[in-house]
Each structure stands twice: as structure tokens, then as C-alpha cells.
Symmetry: C2
Subunit: 467 residues, 2 copies
């Protein structure tokens, strides 16, 4: 499909639509401003976003939060954003606890010997250096674990399975993610010595998916790791033989005290400071297994490339602020710090890109009534990119969430989640997961959004945050 042809046809029909209006016909779409359409369509040939992803993944690599790698990434980011012509480019640091991966090996020792592929979950506790050899209890689902009696897992390794499948909107992450988010803590509460989960992922490669796990205040972290999906399937097949399973598990991650992380901030100054900032961005940190191409070099790249296009087209009404947030993965430290430092400044709207690099298929907002026409213009301008207006209320995002919680309107541009959890948090999160054409569609969507929102004459005031 040629986006330009579609865009031109749609723009023409939108302008002409009022004369065709009839009773019972859908409301006429808002006209698309020719400047917006031109900016959007020019972005379909964008190379800057790919250049940023290629650069970050090649010249920096993995960017684990609060490590020297993330610091190198900030240096790279400042140089890049400055070279691109952004204003007020600077780093804002904060401190946070540091967690570092160690040795991670697992072997089924009975009934059949197998070396397994697994990775520690973020915030995992450690086994002794020599590992532990313990019986394994199989829970095919998180729900099965929840039903296990108190104390029944003492001295055992709990395995938690799942049946995650790909979903367009990523909803299966919410459905199956708790096995990782809170499964280890739940198993610990029932006495488990360690936990291995089936990766929260939709691929079938022997690349496990890491990701953070949470420990309630006062709970001592136990060793917790994710098996690759094929290794989890193997463990379940072994279990079906009905013989006791024993595993030798070694995980030696460690908490390394407090470290420094930071946000990199860059502005496209607007002509009307009182109109509020449009806050966009993604996160600069990544997990340490891959090079964080889809999570989230693509997010900082898409939003930066779009902001650069608006900047080059002239001064927008509203300041556009691009933030490459730090330390999203271990707990959204960058987003919280941004809101702490900047929450008192006027913000008109916020949105982040942190769901890979595949096509945007939907947008959702929670714009105030005074800005309803802004949403209508977004619908018209994004439709030629294959993006429809969702029926829900916007407000997603770990990084912009703390700012949105202060009453700033949300603009969500939702990317397809079909492929995302094949790669999410695995060693496979590298440059070749980026489809340049889909990346360009993202840049076009963000460019159109910024052209409309940053220049909207309407007032965009406070909203009631989504729960």
C-alpha cells in the first residue's frame, strides 16, 4: 500500500465530506491540514530513527540501568541530540539500587540429565556459588501455584508455566506476566528455595526472557530465573513421565549498592511557553542480554526523529520535550525522577514509545473536552497510516506515567504486539529485529501527532488521570 496515495485520497475526501453529509451517515472526519499531511508523508522516508537504533546498538550495546554502560549511552545520547540541533540538551541524574547478573546455569540431574537455558530475573536472589540441588515441583500455571498450601514448597524449586500467545494489543503480557512479576514472591511465601518460570514470551527459541520480579517489603529475594520456552516444554514433558525431578541450579546475581542513572533531556522550544510542554520519549536503558533494539532504542529513535522533523519545519507553538529516560526496566526510576523534578512545569500532553518498532495500529487519548477537536484531527491525520482511534482511554507508560498521574493528558500510539514478545528481554533484542519500513511508519505517526498537538490552538488543560 502506498501511504502517499492513500493520504492524498483521504485528505481530498475529508475536505469534500461536508457536502456529502446525510442523516445516519458517520460524522464527517476532520480535515487534515496540508502541512501536517506533508510532514507525515515525508516521514515515511525517514532514515534518522534507524540511524539512532543502529548507532546505539553498535556503538554502545546493552545499557543496563545504573551501570557504566548506561552512562556511556547517556554520553552518546547527549552528543547525538546536540548534533541534531536540539536545545537544552542535558543529563539529570539520580541514584538507585544496582542489580548485576552473575553465573546462571541449570541442569536437570534426574530422571534424565539435561542442561537447560535460563537467565536470572532482575532482582533475583542468589544461590551459593556451588549451586543447589533440589527437587522440582511443577505448576503449569500461576493459578496452580496460588493454590499450593502454605509451607508445601519448603526446600523445593517451584516451576511456574504459562500458555502465553501473541496478541495485537499485548494483553497476554498482562494475563501471563504475573508468573514473573509476583510468582517468585508468592512461591517464596510458601517456602520455595528457588523459582524457575517458563519465559514470559511467545517465541520458540532457546533464548530466555529476563525481566524484573518484585519482592514485597521485608521479603528476602530467593533465586528466580526464566527458562527458554523450549526448555520449559522439555521440563513439562519430563514431568509427564511421572518420576521425581531434581535440578542443580546456580544463580549468582548480586545487589551492588546504590548507583547513578539519569535521564537525557532535549527540547524543541515552542513559541508559547504558557501552552504547556508536549512530553515524549522512550527509555535509554535496556536489559543486558541483547542490545535493546526494540526495547527501547526504537522508542527514543522514533520520538527523536519525529521531534527533529517538527523542529526543522519551524518553531512549534508548544515546546516539545524529548526524554531518553533512564532505568525504566528495573522499576521506572527515570520516569519518577522526571515527574519529581519537572512535575511543576506546565505540560499539555505526554506519550511514550516503548512497545517495539512494529506498526502503530491504534491511538487513544484522554484529552480534555476543550481539546476534543485535537483528537478528531489526530483521527483524520493518522487514518492513512492504518491507525484507528481506539474506544479506550489513553494513559499507558512507565516513563510518562508519573507525569500523567499529575493530570497531564495522554496520547498513546499503540504498536502491534504480535511479534513483540518473541524478542522482548531476550538476547535476540538486536538490530535485525527492526523492520525499517515499520519503523518509518512509527516516525510518520509521531510526526503527525506532534504537528497537530504541539500546534493546536486549543487549550489542553489538566485531565483526570486514568486509573
Amino acid at each position: 500500500m502506498n501511504h502517499r496515495i492513500l493520504a492524498a485520497a483521504f485528505a481530498a475526501s475529508a475536505l469534500a465530506a461536508p457536502s456529502f453529509a446525510q442523516r445516519d451517515a458517520p460524522a464527517a472526519p476532520a480535515p487534515v491540514d496540508a502541512t501536517v499531511a506533508a510532514l507525515r508523508d515525508a516521514a515515511l522516508t525517514d532514515d534518522l530513527a534507524y540511524d539512532i537504533v543502529e548507532g546505539l546498538t553498535t556503538e554502545v550495546g546493552q545499557r543496563l540501568a545504573a551501570t557504566e554502560a548506561e552512562a556511556r549511552a547517556r554520553t552518546w545520547a547527549v552528543a547525538k541530540l546536540t548534533a541534531l540541533g536540539f536545545k537544552n540538551v542535558h543529563v539529570e541524574t539520580y541514584t538507585m539500587p544496582v542489580w548485576l547478573r552473575g553465573v546462571e546455569t541449570a541442569t536437570v540431574t534426574a530422571p534424565f540429565p539435561h542442561d537447560l537455558k535460563l537467565v536470572a530475573l532482575g532482582n533475583s536472589g542468589a544461590t551459593p556459588a556451588a549451586g543447589v540441588t533440589l527437587p522440582v515441583v511443577i505448576f503449569k500455571t500461576y493459578g496452580d501455584l496460588a493454590n499450593a498450601p502454605a509451607g508445601s514448597l519448603t526446600g523445593k524449586i517451584a516451576y511456574i508455566g504459562n500458555a502465553m500467545e501473541p496478541t495485537q494489543d499485548g494483553s497476554s503480557y498482562g494475563a501471563y506476566g504475573p508468573a514473573r512479576f509476583v510468582g517468585p514472591a508468592l512461591a517464596a511465601s510458601k517456602g520455595a528455595a528457588a523459582v524457575v518460570i517458563r519465559s514470559i514470551g511467545t517465541d520458540h527459541h532457546r533464548n530466555p526472557h529476563t525481566g524484573g520480579t518484585n519482592w514485597p517489603e521485608g521479603v528476602k529475594p530467593i533465586p528466580a530465573a526464566a527458562l527458554s520456552v523450549p526448555d520449559a516444554e522439555l521440563l513439562e514433558r519430563i514431568a509427564r513421565r511421572g518420576k521425581p525431578i531434581t535440578m542443580h541450579l546456580t544463580l549468582t546475581p548480586r545487589f551492588a549498592g546504590q548507583g547513578t542513572s539519569g535521564n537525557v533531556i532535549a527540547d524543541v522550544p515552542g513559541s508559547d511557553p504558557g501552552a504547556g510542554i508536549v512530553l515524549i520519549g522512550g527509555h535509554l536503558d535496556s536489559w543486558d542480554l541483547g542490545t535493546g533494539a526494540i526495547d527501547d532504542a526504537s522508542g527514543v529513535a522514533i520520538t527523536t526523529a519525529a521531534a527533529k522533523r517538527i523542529m526543522d519545519a519551524g518553531t512549534p507553538r508548544r515546546t516539545i520535550r524529548v526524554v531518553w529516560f533512564g532505568a525504566e526496566e528495573p522499576g521506572g526510576y527515570g520516569g519518577k525522577d522526571y515527574a519529581r523534578v519537572h512535575g511543576g512545569e506546565p505540560h499539555a500532553a505526554a506519550g511514550e514509545s516503548d512497545f517495539g518498532a512494529d506498526r502503530v495500529w491504534r491511538f487513544e487519548t484522554n484529552l480534555p473536552d476543550s481539546a476534543k477537536p485535537v483528537g478528531d484531527r489526530l483521527a483524520s491525520a493518522l487514518a492513512p497510516l492504518g491507525i484507528s482511534r481506539g474506544a479506550g482511554v489513553g494513559g499507558d507508560g512507565t516513563d510518562v506515567g508519573p507525569t500523567m498521574a499529575l493530570g497531564v493528558a495522554a496520547i498513546d500510539l499503540n504498536q502491534s504486539g504480535i511479534r513483540y514478545f518473541d524478542t522482548h528481554h531476550t538476547p535476540d533484542d538486536v538490530l535485525d529485529r527492526i523492520d525499517p519500513e515499520q519503523l518509518r511508519q512509527n516516525v510518520a505517526a509521531w510526526t503527525a501527532m506532534l504537528a497537530i498537538v504541539a500546534n493546536a490552538p486549543e487549550d489542553i488543560g489538566k485531565v483526570t488521570p486514568r486509573k
Copy 2:
């Protein structure tokens, strides 16, 4: 497509064909015997082959040659083949050099730090335990390496790239494989301290492809490893920045003296010992990274399931011998030992299954003129499975090759290679790479082949082996 419908239609047309013969029309296909067709079509519901692959990969796992794992696999095989009712089930052992994997890590230390995913090649030499830190010289192809001056690689790590793409007939393995087969020895001859190659593979996951490399007599093995394809692409992208690359490389595999490997042999005795044995099989050993599902549990499973079907249908004219060969991967030791021990027995034909578990698309033979009608009947019986007769001469196979070299006719059933090198020799060679429907088509093809060849009334005498 419903194979049964096609088979019935084809059989009817074949029987009727002579009455439609005209000048310039293609030769009428040979009729398909109703018993052959029934056996073939029944095999399209086969579950035994999958059961064997599932069992070997679950209850045994990786089966590195001449290790205790391969010995456990032989024990498993003898029990399985005996339970299935095969006769003369036994193990024939031989000794061979043992090579064992050790630590394998690599880090680019300059100009940008990156941990790389790599695996030692079979027969790789070792670095000191603490590793080596050396400059890297990039050769994008094996041809580029061949042009490097003598002595130019002294004290350096040579990187050898390739541009392998999938091919139906696997021919790209021949085109690009030399970078692994002989690239390390060539680099050593020019002074290289170590070699890393881009995996000989067609996937884009961070799972490197191992496989044997060869050292000429008298050449001391140097450390030699394969990077995953994305890691190789990263290294080439770094190289394009034009700055010197330094790598810290640790590989500690070792040669562990002589060990015991063996072939597992099982017969379906025929009624006419003088008519010669039909030798079929695959290899029981695997590389140690995955569980050897497509390489080559599927091969032993397909051929065993087909032989079992013929056995259950009554005594064939010729003895069918199924061999689960040992130690194919490190150098075809099992195939050589079989020919040494059994080469003097009369063999009518030989064929092996060792190219995964995807559909058979072609067959080729080098049957003697006396048995030309056998080839014609194969063409008719295999056509409904989507298998065409190739224009080439059969004779493939590391395991049956040494027997074919004695003048035994070859029957090659060629599987699609499109997906094969995505998984070949990687940690991803596990059960879920097996497509049960395609596996059944293989069993049907081998069943039809055996039904025809083992029962052919024609004499199948010696042939001139393919070069």
C-alpha cells in the same frame, strides 16, 4: 492437499495410461501396486516417528559422540528397537578420539565493548584458561581469507564472514561451508592465533551453529569458534567504523583421548538372503548444544517407523537393516565402521535420512540398468507425496557413503533444506522444530520406497559409485 485422494487419482490414471498413449506424449508412468499405495497412505497417519524423536530428545537429550550420553542413547535405542519387534538388535562398538566443549566466551574490548555469543567448533583448539586479547582481522568471505598473504595473520584473530541463504537442496551449505570446514586451518597456515567465523546458518537468532572443522595432518589446532549471525553482523558493523577491533577470547575445549562409540543395528529379516540387504538409517549421535531433534533423531525415527510398517505387513523379500549410526558429526566414524564390518555382506541398496524432518521433495538413485523398472515404480509411488524424480545421480550420505563406495546402489530421498540451516547444529535443534505432518510425509515416502525396493523381483547388483 489430501494425499489419499491424489494417490487414488494417480493410481487410476497410471493403470489406464497405456490406452491413452500417443506419439510425443510422455512415457506412461509405471503402475503403482495397490499394496504399496496402501502402505504409503497408511503411513501418513504415523505416530511412531514422532514418538521416537520425542523420546530420544526427552529421555536422553544431547548425544555427543563417544560420551556417556551417546552410550545412554544406545541403551535407549536397543530397548526401543527390541520392543518394536526388530530382530538381531545389537550394538557394535569402535573407538575414536573424543572432543569435549569447555568454556566459550568472547568480548569485543575495543572500540566498543560487546559480549558476543559464540560456540567452539568441533575439534577446536584451546586458548589459555584466562583467554587471549588480540586484534581482529575481518575477512568478509572465505575467498578474501584465501587472498591474505602468508604470515599476515600472526598474532591475530581472523574473522571469516559469509552470505549464506536458504536453498531447497541445501547447496548453499556446500558453497559457504568451507569457511567452517577448512577456514580455520587456512587461517592457521597464515599465522592466525584463533578464528571466529559467522555461523554457517540461515537464521537470525543469537544461537551460534557449531560443527566440525578439519585440521590437516600435522597442523596443531588453533581456537576456532562460530559467532551467531547477529553477532557476526554486529562485528562487521563495528568494522565499518574503521577503528581497530580487539577481542578477548576464551575457548577451553579439550581432546580427551580415545573413547567408545557404536552403531545400533536392527533387522527386518527377508525371505531371500541372496537378494541383498536394503540398508537404511540415520545417526544417533548429535552435537551437544541442542537435543538433536532434526539432526538426527528424525532420521533414525523416519527410517525405523517405515521399516516397522514393512515388517508388520509381512516378510519382505530382502532384509531391511536399520542402523542408528554413531559418531556421524565428528567424522562419520559409525558409517566407516559399518562398512568395515559389514561391507562383505551382500547389499542391494542403501539410503539415509539426515537432513531434518521437512518434506521429501525429490528422489535420486543410481540403480543399475537391471533395476531400471524399480526406479520407475518409485517415481509413480512417490509422486502423490509431492516427490519428483531428480535429474541427478543418487549417492549422498556420510553414514551410508562408505558402504555405497563399495558399489552398493543409492536411493536418496531429499528433504527440503529451506528451514534446515536455521536450526542445524544450534541450541534450537529441539523437539519443537519437528512438524509432525511433514515428519509423516517422510515416513510415507520411506515406507513406499522400502515396499518397492525390498520386494523388487529384479536383481539389484553392483553399481559404479558416484564420485
